[in-house]
Subunit: 227 residues, 2 copies
């Protein structure tokens, strides 16, 4: 990536040093039992500097998955607008998983280490879910943009929330059934995505409101609906 000056390279290196040091210490003695001072000492920087790289102690553990979410957002923006929301979200997610599976072994190892840690630490798992939902708003905005509706469109909110739930369920299910092999993650994702599609009515995703197709009419803006 863009390593322009000496300064930027150095920053990137200390960032990785902090992540690695933290991941090692967390794995050794647990997340809660590890202090920021220890991480800083292991990475050979001052404790104050740690907080210049990561806002909280949690962030250093979640930084890698968080980067993944950025990638997903970019992938979503790149999907063709013909795809209905749920399909596009699914493909964006698949792209992220695929990218992860094909990346540098060192990076993959780091990522798996982080995920393993997160999944075995309740506090981190909760934090991870929290960040996941923080991104939900950004996903909503992107989907709303694609669909040409407002940020407050109820169906868009629902579609994104549903997708996030499905993804979360998939990961959770992976965790319970101790599936940590990288390769099978995408298989699990496909499975849970397929189950969701099976539970949903075809076309629920994108009601034919704007370019009114013949033979039907559905109120898309005001959620008036028959039982």
């Amino acid at each position: 990536m863009g390593q322009h000056g000496l300064r930027e390279r150095k920053k990137h290196r200390t960032r990785l040093a902090l992540i690695d040091a933290a991941l090692d210490l967390f794995a050794e003695q647990g997340y809660e039992a590890t202090t920021v001072d220890q991480i800083a000492a292991a990475a050979d920087v001052s404790p104050r500097t740690f907080f210049r790289y990561f806002a909280t102690k949690e962030d250093v553990a979640l930084s890698l998955p968080l980067d993944g979410q950025e990638v997903m957002l970019a992938e979503l923006a790149a999907r063709p607008s013909e795809e209905p929301p749920f399909t596009a979200l699914g493909h964006a997610m698949r792209a992220v998983v695929a990218m992860l599976e094909e990346s540098d072994p060192t990076e993959t190892a780091r990522f798996l280490k982080a995920r393993e840690l997160i999944e075995s630490t309740p506090a981190l798992l909760a934090g991870s879910m929290h960040r996941l939902m923080g991104n939900e708003r950004r996903l909503i905005e992107e989907v709303a943009r694609r669909e040409g509706v407002g940020d407050d469109d109820l169906l868009t909110h629902f579609a994104v929330a549903l997708f996030v739930s499905v993804a979360r369920t998939g990961f959770e299910h992976c965790r319970v059934n101790d599936v940590s092999i990288t390769g099978s993650i995408s298989a699990r994702l496909d499975a849970v995505l397929a189950m969701a599609e099976e539970s949903l009515r075809p076309g629920w995703d994108r009601p034919p409101t704007r370019p009114v197709p013949p033979g039907q009419f559905i109120e898309g803006s005001s959620g008036q609906v028959a039982t």
Copy 2:
């Protein structure tokens, strides 16, 4: 409720005093700007005692909605097992909202005050969502029990996650459209629940695997589906 001895009444009173003091201070000067010491002083107890009533500063703000979740869990357990999961969850939720709408004006006011605060404070909103998801596991366990499947049943996970998402979407939508009037909350809930039902295939809830009903067959365990 059961206020047996003088002691219990006193405890209940200080608990309410702490909640009221906290809610007032939070409303006045903001959540982050308020210290636990201030709350304790306002409620006329020592700071240490505060933490004997609430594990964290967050808890005092979220305690009321949290109580609501307990009620919902109880309502769910009381629903007849003939109801499929999503229906039962919906009814349990409606019962909670109804209970809230019919309760003591003082309590209602307190609850609305808390909700208003939570929804206007990002940190609290995040915390609220976190607790909501903490209860997801308990909901899963209850639904799994009702359906006679294991805790790791994928469809159960999915159904509960979906329901939680729908409820969350409903609340979120209420927040965006500044609907704080108590009465219309249940209307909104009905609307968003109806939208969800409309998006889903009938019977997705409870696949006829175990006591095979006549005339249909759906693969419920392995999610194989055509694109």
